[in-house]
């Protein structure tokens, strides 16, 4: 149900306080509903060549095939779940929702003020084409009403998920503390990308434009606004890149669509972000500006590696930091802790990756995935299996 009026909002709060632990049709039915929804959305996504929508439908289909993820474990709903998704990915509310819906929870999902409400309504319209059963105990709430509903039933919430930065998380936890429920958050992180210049040097034009396309995809069209977008670029090369000699940036720039009205705001926004960031953060580290991609500077880090995490923290929201290493075996010496995703370009062999994983040991990123897959949402996120988070695993011996 779409909660977009004060009346509906009051009604919902009353319902939540009264009715609890309503069984939602059974796991098999839910899985089937999610599958149908996924298929419908998939068709629409293919018809409209909508990448974001296609990714969502793939996720629905993947999760609906839950046995592949949890095997024969028995999952029980937790009860009332509140979702506070981040607004960087349009369909984020539905990723969080689908997983929890499958488990059988009552879900209250906050829609972002900044998200494109038309896109979100589109998904909700699909619900009615599948089955009215999808609406039972599933609530999508406009931000204007979300807080009063949440604050009205803090004592009844069994699980709350916050996908935000540290400030957001602590504000919500302070202003709206749960009494007994489980509070889980996914604070913002940064991600890395590994590119081999050896491959790049010999790549054909088609291969290069493929790399650019994948990189652009991972960077959310150059906005780098996702925590899985590449904020740290590890460039494996015999020689150090310079402003005159960094072919990747040149190629990325030639690859940009020049519809100014449609895409110009990412470039101007990147300029704004960097200038704001310069004014408020400390950038007094040694680095070399290599150039810009849609207004976002690429900075070759030349300072003490011990200071890299601090620089990443100050700069990674507004600039991409480039680290140059001579061989893949050096990564273990330079990779900062706490990297969320690490993508790798073609030209890095699976043997190299396996030995990298062994080398990194306790310093492994949460995901190591091919270039172009950074924005894919995985059931396992930030090291958590979401299906198991949203449910209670029942022991049965």
């Amino acid at each position: 149900m779409f909660i977009d009026t004060p009346d509906k909002s009051e009604q919902l709060l009353a319902n939540l306080l009264e009715a609890k632990n309503i069984t939602n049709h059974g796991l098999n039915v839910r899985s089937e509903l999610l599958n149908k929804l996924g298929m419908l959305i998939r068709k629409k996504a293919i018809d409209h060549k909508d990448k974001e929508l296609l990714a969502l439908s793939n996720y629905f289909l993947e999760v609906s095939d839950y046995k592949k993820i949890i095997g024969n474990k028995i999952l029980q709903p937790r009860g009332l779940v509140f979702h506070i998704p981040s607004s960087n990915i349009t369909y984020m509310p539905f990723y969080s929702w689908a997983t929890s819906f499958l488990v059988g929870n009552i879900n209250v999902v906050r829609l972002s003020r900044r998200a494109n409400l038309n896109s979100l309504r589109l998904i909700l319209n699909f619900f009615s084409s599948v089955s009215s059963k999808l609406y039972v105990n599933q609530y999508f709430v406009l931000p204007d009403y979300f807080n009063s509903i949440m604050n009205g039933c803090l004592g009844s919430i069994d699980l709350r998920l916050i996908w935000g930065n540290r400030d957001t998380i602590s504000t919500i936890r302070k202003d709206s503390p749960l009494s007994i429920g489980l509070d889980l958050s996914f604070p913002d992180r940064y991600s890395a990308c590994l590119i081999s210049s050896n491959y790049y040097k010999v790549a054909s034009d088609t291969q290069i434009s493929q790399i650019c396309k994948l990189f652009q995809n991972d960077s959310l069209d150059g906005s780098f606004g996702a925590c899985s977008s590449p904020h740290l670029l590890i460039w494996i090369s015999e020689e150090s890149p310079s402003s005159d000699n960094f072919p990747l940036l040149y190629d990325l720039n030639t690859f940009i669509k020049n519809d100014v009205q449609e895409y110009g705001s990412i470039s101007t926004e990147n300029i704004r972000k960097f200038q704001e960031s310069i004014i408020t953060n400390d950038f007094s580290f040694k680095y070399l500006a290599l150039g810009k991609y849609k207004g976002r500077p690429f900075l070759l880090y030349q300072d003490d590696l011990k200071l890299l995490p601090t620089f990443l923290q100050n700069a990674s929201q507004s600039a991409t930091i480039v680290l140059y290493i001579k061989s893949i075996s050096e990564i273990k010496n330079v990779l900062p802790k706490n990297i969320q995703s690490m993508t790798y370009s073609p030209g890095i062999s699976s043997e190299e990756l396996s030995s990298l994983v062994a080398d990194l040991d306790s310093n492994l990123p949460d995901r190591i995935i091919p270039l172009g897959r950074a924005l894919d949402f995985d059931v396992v996120w930030d090291g958590y299996n979401l299906l198991e988070i949203f449910g209670r695993l029942v022991t049965f011996k």
Binding site: I84, P85, S86, S87, N88, I89, R110, S112, R113, R114, N116, P143, I162, W163, G164, N165, D167, T168, F186, P187, D188, R189, L220, D221, S223, G225, A226, C227, N253, I256, K257, N258, D259, V260, Q261, E262, Y263, G264, S265, I266, S267, T268, E269, N270, I271, R272, K273, F274, Q275, E276, I278, I279, F283, A289, K292, K294, G295, P297, Q317
Partner: protein, 344 residues
């Protein structure tokens, strides 16, 4: 291919270089943005490559080492939604901006402060002002254009309805008059209201100057052409002249010529940029970078905006005026750049 037409003339580049140096030595924030990317060397070679994003004035009050005293003031943008820009103007900057406005508008309209004509403002006298917040841009513009007029007559009541007494006075005689208003206000509260009430009249020998607030007008699907034809139909006024300007660059506004193009002037210039922020070529739409050679008390001399427009030519406009002429096409689509950290 980059079009040299999109560049600046040598004399303007020199002035821009001097302004870069001035703000670099006097404004910490400006200096930080230069040093972060080692752009100091570009001051002379490529001064047009140095710009601030205009939104920085929304989150910061940027000052170029000018003492705050009773002569300085903060100018606040008039937007109703979102954060407002706050511009720190000292006496020197304000005076140079007033002089520039006088020259630009005076030349275009062939008006002089020595021969003032009746002045009608299509707005209300009671623009909400919280003086502690600074001077409203709308108020400042109304006062700015007052240089050519006698004491202002406000055509709108405080509830934005038309003041019929003032309207009667406006159409009572044929002497030349200057009308001024914000495009959106003129459209919504004056023209639309005249249509509703079935009123039209003739204002001969007169000027309507309008600007600002055009984002809202465009949103309603009212183009400059449509606006003009409405004005002709309802007011049948001799000259209807649009201008493009921003609060960060008060004074050095771009005025529309008799052929419907905006022109640069001796105090200003404009550059259009592609998505990679290269100079765009003639007739290819680009992001607007607006240059004003006036601001000294704040670093607003070279600004990247969120507008897009297109350079139409150089020195060849049929109106006869020299220099670049261009069109503003609208606001860049707001692709919302979101971060994982943004819940809201």
């Amino acid at each position: 291919m980059i079009d040299s037409l999109n560049m600046l003339t040598d004399s303007k580049r020199e002035l821009l270089t001097m302004l870069h140096r001035h703000h670099y030595s006097n404004c910490r924030e400006f200096q930080l943005t230069i040093d972060a990317l080692n752009l100091y060397d570009q001051f002379e070679e490529n001064p047009e490559e140095i710009f601030l994003h205009s939104s920085l004035f929304k989150s910061n009050i940027l000052r170029s080492n000018t003492a705050i005293n009773s002569d300085s003031s903060i100018l606040v943008s008039s937007g109703t939604s979102g954060q407002r820009s706050r511009i720190f103007a000292d006496r020197e900057t304000r005076v140079s901006q007033q002089r520039a406005l006088l020259k630009i508008v005076g030349e275009r309209l062939s008006l002089s402060p020595r021969h003032r004509i009746p002045y009608y403002v299509i707005d209300t006298k009671d623009i909400l002002v919280d003086k502690s917040q600074g001077i409203q841009a709308r108020q400042a513009a109304i006062m700015g254009f007052n240089m050519f007029g006698k004491s202002p007559n406000y055509l709108l009541n405080s509830d934005f309805s038309i003041d019929l007494k003032v309207l009667e006075k406006l159409i009572s005689d044929d002497q030349p008059k200057l009308l001024f208003g914000f495009t959106w206000v003129v459209y919504k509260y004056f023209l639309m209201e005249l249509i509703k009430q079935g009123i039209n009249f003739t204002i001969p020998n007169s000027y309507l100057v309008h600007g600002g607030g055009w984002k809202k007008t465009l949103k309603e699907g009212v183009s400059n052409d449509k606006f003009k034809s409405l004005v002709t139909q309802l007011l049948s006024i001799t000259h209807c002249i649009n201008y493009y300007g921003m609060i960060e660059q008060t004074g050095s506004i771009f005025m529309e010529c008799s052929h419907g193009y905006l022109h640069v002037n001796q105090f200003s210039d404009i550059i259009f940029r592609t998505n990679t922020l290269e100079l765009s070529s003639i007739n290819n739409p680009g992001i607007v970078q607006s240059i004003s050679l006036l601001p000294k008390s704040y670093p607003g001399h070279s600004l990247l905006t969120e507008d897009f427009g297109v350079l139409r030519g150089y020195d060849g406009c049929k109106c006869g005026a020299n220099g670049k002429y261009f069109e503003i096409l609208g606001r860049l689509n707001k692709t919302i750049v979101r971060g994982c950290s943004d819940v809201y």
